[in-house]
């Protein structure tokens, strides 16, 4: 590559990699500034590679919201508004429901449920129109596979399907498994504790049935969260959001907890789906449209404080900008804000005659606009060493289970509900079993009332879920570097499309005869891969995305 002079490459002023909300926002804002912008998306359609739990927020305090940049967004691309927000503290059949409306509506201009295929493909259409006028445009089926460097400086991108392209600014909005962030050395795939893993089922339901069962009208929606003892002690929780004619039901867990507990993500999802509490909404009917999974960065630990290098600016999940604090899960809105700020930073840097300064300006804007404060609250940083220590967890566990603690809960049940609704308190919630399991379980036990209904729905088996997904399989894109069980065995359980004693998934356990003994190893078949990236973190792999248009294609997302 180095012998080819730069002027032979195709050049765009800005290249945006990824057409999710972060990339779409960056591209729209760049186009509004008249910057010639090329957007490259690896899916067959924008949204075909994307999954989210399903709520997008517009925050009052945010400098950019998605409907600022795309005025028809709510009308065209979302499902239902999430007007009501509840958390259910579950202990066996006992459930205590807290109303979380205060925290949900705090700083919230609006909040809608979304399905990503519909949302992102609509955004992409708008973005293509806007960027095409600048001389650029949006292309699908193109996988950007790395950075183009000259003399050690980042000058552009390399792709599977296109010749290298140079650019004055590169916005990497290529998602949680950003290959560009890794190429630049800004992010890694090492620590399970920096990640959550989300698994979701989109469940078919007639709009009238949704309205009746949730007590809402056509233009209304509800969000429910679930915590307590229904997930075998794995740290995390569940969610249920109403869409126009479907429900999004999912679970999100700390990846280190999934790994430690050898938990099977699809079974944890089933634990939620089959809990008696859900009978009021499912009423014995269950038709799963799509099973999906994705990694989620934990911004408290993973949000990069300085997400840029040279001409490269990271936006959204690629920069770890995903806020999950207790019951508040906000990702897409921060990606939109970051995208807008990245574009603004480039425009300002260019106006001052120094476009290479865009990264520093972007970093400053993330601070001054309060984005970093939300993503990495100082309160969490300061309280974490104490609150997440084993000693304190042990003490609080003991206290909560003591007669004194029980009396306290009974006396101050309303106070606990108020504490959940405090953004200040939430910023301090420690990521321990105490917060996710012990506390909600104890609340459910002490304050809850038993659910009498029976939920006898039967979610599909894993092989059916895999069979229902659409794939355009290519050559294997993941290679196991160390196939010993010690190094990579966790993938067998942690991978959302693999399971112990299941032969139809990605990872399976095998026993091979070696000189004078037996050895447990793992083998990999990437055919059913949903490209979530779990195995990149918990196993020893060389992990890449499939080429443009190949691999899994989500229809819902």
């Amino acid at each position: 590559m180095t012998e080819t002079p730069t002027d032979e490459y195709e050049h765009y002023e800005a290249v945006v990699v990824g057409a999710g909300p972060g990339g779409a926002a960056a591209a729209a804002a760049l186009a509004n500034h008249g910057v010639e912008t090329l957007v490259l998306e690896r899916g067959v359609d924008a949204g075909s590679k994307n999954v989210s739990g399903g709520l997008i927020y517009a925050e009052e305090s945010a400098p950019y919201t998605i409907d600022d940049l795309f005025p028809d967004f709510r009308e065209e691309a979302t499902e239902r508004p999430a007007d009501e927000y509840y958390i259910h503290n579950v202990a066996g059949r006992n459930v205590k429901t807290f109303d979380l409306n205060d925290i949900h509506h705090h700083d919230t201009e609006w909040c809608d449920s979304v399905l990503r295929r519909k949302m992102d493909s609509w955004l992409a259409e708008q973005v293509h129109g806007m960027t095409r006028e600048t001389g650029g445009g949006l292309l699908t089926n193109v996988r950007v596979n790395g950075l183009l460097r000259e003399g050690g400086e980042i000058v552009g991108v390399t792709c599977d399907e296109l010749d290298p392209i140079t650019a004055d600014v590169i916005v990497a909005a290529d998602g949680v498994n950003s290959e560009l962030a890794r190429d630049a050395g800004l992010m890694d795939w090492e620590e399970p504790e920096e990640w959550f893993q989300g698994v979701k089922a989109v469940v078919d339901m007639d709009p009238d049935a949704i309205n009746e069962r949730f007590g809402i009208d056509d233009d209304e929606g509800v969000a429910h969260l679930f915590a307590g003892d229904l997930f075998d002690g794995v740290r995390g929780g569940g969610l249920l959001y109403t869409n126009e004619d479907s429900l999004s039901i999912g679970t999100v867990f700390h990846l280190d907890s999934i790994a430690e507990e050898k938990a099977e993500p699809h079974e944890l999802l089933d634990s939620l789906l089959t809990h008696p509490l859900l009978d009021q909404w499912l009423q014995g009917e269950y038709e799963e449209r799509e099973y999906a999974a994705k990694l989620v960065p934990d911004s408290k630990k993973a949000a990069h404080p300085s997400p840029h290098r040279g001409r490269l600016l990271l936006v959204g999940d690629a920069a770890g900008q995903m806020q999950a604090q207790g019951p508040i899960i906000k990702g897409m809105n921060h990606a939109v804000t970051a995208g807008g700020l990245a574009a603004e930073a480039y425009q300002e840097a260019k106006a001052r005659g120094n476009p290479t300064n865009a990264g520093d300006l972007y970093e400053q804007k993330l601070e001054t606009e309060g984005v970093m404060k939300k993503l990495r609250p100082a309160r969490y940083r300061y309280s974490r060493p104490v609150s997440e220590s084993g000693l304190v967890t042990g003490l609080t566990n003991g206290l909560l289970n003591s007669p004194v603690g029980t009396a306290g809960l009974k006396l101050f049940g309303g106070l606990v509900e108020r504490a959940f609704n405090s953004p200040f308190m939430l910023g301090m919630i420690p990521d321990t079993r105490f917060s996710y399991v012990t506390m909600p379980t104890r609340i459910g036990e002490v304050l809850g009332t038993p659910v009498t209904a029976e939920n006898d729905i039967e979610p599909p088996e894993l092989d059916e879920r895999i069979g229902d997904l659409t794939y355009d399989v290519d050559d294997p894109h993941i290679e196991v570097l160390d196939n010993s069980f010690e190094a990579s065995g966790t993938a067998v359980t942690a991978c959302p499309v693999s399971a112990k004693d299941f032969g139809g998934g990605c990872y399976r356990e095998e026993t091979v005869q070696t000189n004078g003994g037996e050895q447990k190893v793992v083998s990999l078949d990437t055919q059913p891969c949903v490209e979530c990236g779990t195995c990149a973190v918990v196993a020893d792999t060389h992990w890449e995305h499939p080429p443009g248009g190949k691999g899994v294609e989500y229809k819902q997302g």
Partner: protein, 305 residues
Amino acid sequence: MRSVVLTKGVPDFREGQVSFDEDGHLERGKTPTVMNPNDKHALRAALQTKVRHGGTVSLMSMGPPGYAEILHEGMEDVYADDLYLLSDREMGAADTWATAMTVATGIEHLDETPDLIFAGFKTADGETGHTGPQTEWCLNINDALPDYPLITHVVAMDIDEDEGVVRTKRLVEGDISEIETVEADLPAFVVADPEFEATYRKADHRLRHKDFRAQTRDRAAEFAEYLADDTDTDPTDFADFHMWNHEDLNLDPDFIGLDGSPTIVAGVDPIPKAPSEREATMIEPDDEEGMEEVFEQLQPYAAGD
């Protein structure tokens, strides 16, 4: 670059579309007519030329007035700037020779001499593969037109505008395992192989491709309004559709259509039914004993393991 692509309507031989009578004869009335699938590769080669080098792509066919639908299909599914249909009762029942004469004359009547003429590799019905090369021969004996060197089985191509040449990769003996590179002066006649693949390695080319696809879909949608049964307009009212008869082309009826065709079809054999690959036993639903047997046979497979 001015490109002309030649195409023909053929019965839709896809499973579920095609209809045969009891004797194995094609039921023409019950089988829809579609654009010859191989010609779409030729059209894609022409589109690639337009994306990379600009110009226009014309799609031309000879056939009954209903073939406007075939041209519409090419415009919608791939690309066309404008459409030409050579249509006349006198042109009917032509063999490849009379067709080639007619088509070559049609090309001669275009207001601009094409730089590239594309044809697909043989039709799905006749399967002769003659019409493309014979048209090229007719062009070469036509003094009004330049000579067109013929390159067949083309799987990839590019044009060097400065040198005025087309560089192609073609299959030797029609076999994918052996590929040769052939260069020819423009103008040239290219027969695209079914293995032809358009390649776009530049973002700019893909963006233009996307623009052209959007434009041609819009154009096709507009043309469809002229083709609709319930419209008062005639297809030829559409500015980008031209229909020429033998008088327009100044062709002597004795040299075109059935009269101009030296080929004599001696007979048509029915398409033999493919032999069954498995042994089959026919059992009627009211045959209780037989059905019992079926259930017994199926049971081990229904258990799930």
